[in-house]
Amino acid sequence: MPEQLFQFLLTGITVGSLYALVGLGFALIYNASDVVNFAQGEFVMLGAMLTIALLGAGLPLPLAALAATGLTVLVGLLLERFAIEPALGAPVVSTIIITIGAAIFLRGAALLLWGKDFHRLPAFSGDAPIQLGSATLLPQSLWVLGGTALLVLGVRFFFERTRPGKALLACSYNRTAAQLVGINVRVMLRLAYGLSAGLGALAGILIAPITFSSYEAGVMLGLKGFSAAIVGGMGNPMGAVVGGLLLGVLESLGAGLISSGYKDAIAFLFVLMVLFFEPTGLFGHKVAERV
């Protein structure tokens, strides 16, 4: 049993870092705009599908990945400009429906472009499993883990050390105050959408060799990423990472030790329990209500 436990943990951390990467994108946009972007999963799907398509068109992998990320960023910016900006100040439910609409729209576009089949991106460094004691790991998992670590550090650096990052953070605390000290909130909004689209695309590229991809691949990832961001506390990027890892490990342990059929129920029961005891997630800041 202990040897299996190690395998469950390894699996859980790999899957968890997928969720963490998607959750990070949710947190970024929420920080800038108080909007939960339900099209975040579709950014992930676009990154993967575009890379596969460009690779198929003959581009080498690094170039294809780069171009796919750029294109997805462009989609993110367009979404912000034409769907989010005109609806600034609309009720929260309206913005939720707008992003859901955007998600359906992007899925529809992917369906037209690439059909209904599942597509596979070849693993970056082969499929030969790596033996770690009694457990095994695919080389692609190392790419995912390393990529997640790098991106998380990058996001952290961006928020703590760079001017635009600090400005974005200021917006999340108090948008009016940020505007008063001369931060252009609109520019910040675009920055946030572009960044999280890029993050999503990179996540998609890293995980496509593991999950396969299709026009609907973003749905499940979006759902899990949202859960990760909520468990961590909405708007706290590091919280989303911890939340994603927790969820992944929990799912894997649930499937391995309790029941594989009920593993999603176990994961969501955990989310509910967290919220019942910590109504703003594990690391969310508590906000006093203004009357």
């Binding site: 769907a83 707008i98 859901i100 955007a102 729209f105 529809g108 009920y262 129920a265 969501f268």
Partner: protein, 336 residues
């Protein structure tokens, strides 16, 4: 006067099948739209009036449906008794969940209700011995109402239309009751409502239970009408679609919710002809409505119409007042 819109709507609902008695679109799609309207009107009480989002409402819909399906097929219960049992189960569960869940705000509440919906869906898929698993349960007997067996699409249209009108009527009355006013106060500012001496937790629990009852009721009818249930009809996508209906039609308006439900049902049927372009158009339309009419189709268009009329010198002062009260958010004490 308050119910004038209601009577007009009821007349339309009755007239349609008389004009088109054998039309698939009116009878079958109409019945489906009616069921959705019951669900949306119930959900609107929670989302629109109390300002509490729920992304797991399909769970209560499913509980009603499965209660009817399981009790009638496996235990031979009469349909009406099974329907009552479904209401009891859904209501009880909503009551138990209301306090811990409705303590949450905004997106945390969205997550919690979503999680609840997913858990119920997983149980429907996995508890194969009870629910028949992913392939569902078939052979649900027709509904028997005091000796009259509901059979055929036209009769079902009648039953569902009557149920929908009942739901709308209940909702209209509830909104204008003391509970309704308390709810709107909660929507405005929960803290302020508490200061005014409103037991906000109680008000929220009540509305959560009521909207769960609406959903379970629709679920029971659905199970008998389709003679078949499977977990697909109660998954996250359905929950999201229900919220979409409420918001699309116009939040915090009973007729808005009903119209949103009907509009989206018709839209989904109509878009089928576009085949592969269906999703693209569906998504674009959702975005466009929310961007250009953030208050929803029914409320937004209604207001645009009234503004237009007033510009032409036809509007009356009362209209302005009524439009505020249908928007209903910051106007807790509007006169009946």
């Amino acid at each position: 006067m308050r119910l004038a819109g209601f009577y007009g709507f009821a007349a339309l609902v009755v007239l349609l099948p008389l004009l088109f008695p054998n039309d698939y679109f009116v009878i079958v799609v109409g019945a489906s739209a009616g069921l959705h309207a019951i669900l949306a009107v119930g959900l609107n009480l929670l989302v629109g009036y109390a300002g509490q989002i729920s992304l797991g409402h399909a769970a209560f819909f499913g509980m009603g449906a499965y209660a009817s399906a399981i009790l009638t097929t496996r235990f031979g219960w009469p349909g009406l008794l099974a329907l009552l049992a479904g209401l009891l189960v859904a209501g009880l569960l909503a009551w138990l969940l209301a306090r811990p869940i409705l303590r949450l705000r905004g997106h945390y509440l969205a997550m919690a209700t979503l999680g609840f919906g997913v858990i119920v869906h997983v149980i429907l898929v996995q508890a194969t011995d009870w629910t028949g698993g992913p392939d569902g349960l078939s052979g649900i007997p027709p509904l028997n109402l005091f000796g009259w067996t509901v059979e055929g699409d036209l009769q079902w249209y009648g039953v569902i239309a009557a149920a929908m009108l009942l739901a709308i009527w209940l909702s209209l009355n509830l909104v204008d009751s003391q509970i309704g006013r308390a709810l709107r106060a909660v929507h405005g500012s929960e803290f302020a409502a508490q200061m005014m001496g409103i037991d906000t937790a109680r008000a929220k629990t009540q509305v959560f239970v009521v909207s769960a009852l609406f959903a379970a009721f629709a679920g029971s009818l659905f199970a008998h009408q389709q003679a078949f249930v499977s977990p697909d009809s109660f998954n996250l996508a359905v929950s999201v679609e229900l919220v979409t209906m409420v918001v699309l039609g116009g939040i915090a308006s009973t007729f808005g919710a009903a119209c949103g439900a009907i509009a989206l049902t018709l839209l989904r049927q109509g878009l089928v002809v576009f085949e592969d372009y269906e999703m693209l158009i569906h998504g674009a339309l959702l975005m466009a409505v929310m961007i250009f009419l953030p208050q929803g189709l029914f409320v937004g268009l209604g207001q645009a119409l009234r503004t237009g009329l007033r510009r032409c010198g036809l509007g009356r002062r009362r209209d302005r007042h009524r439009s505020l009260s249908t928007a209903g958010v910051q106007d807790p004490g509007s006169p009946p």
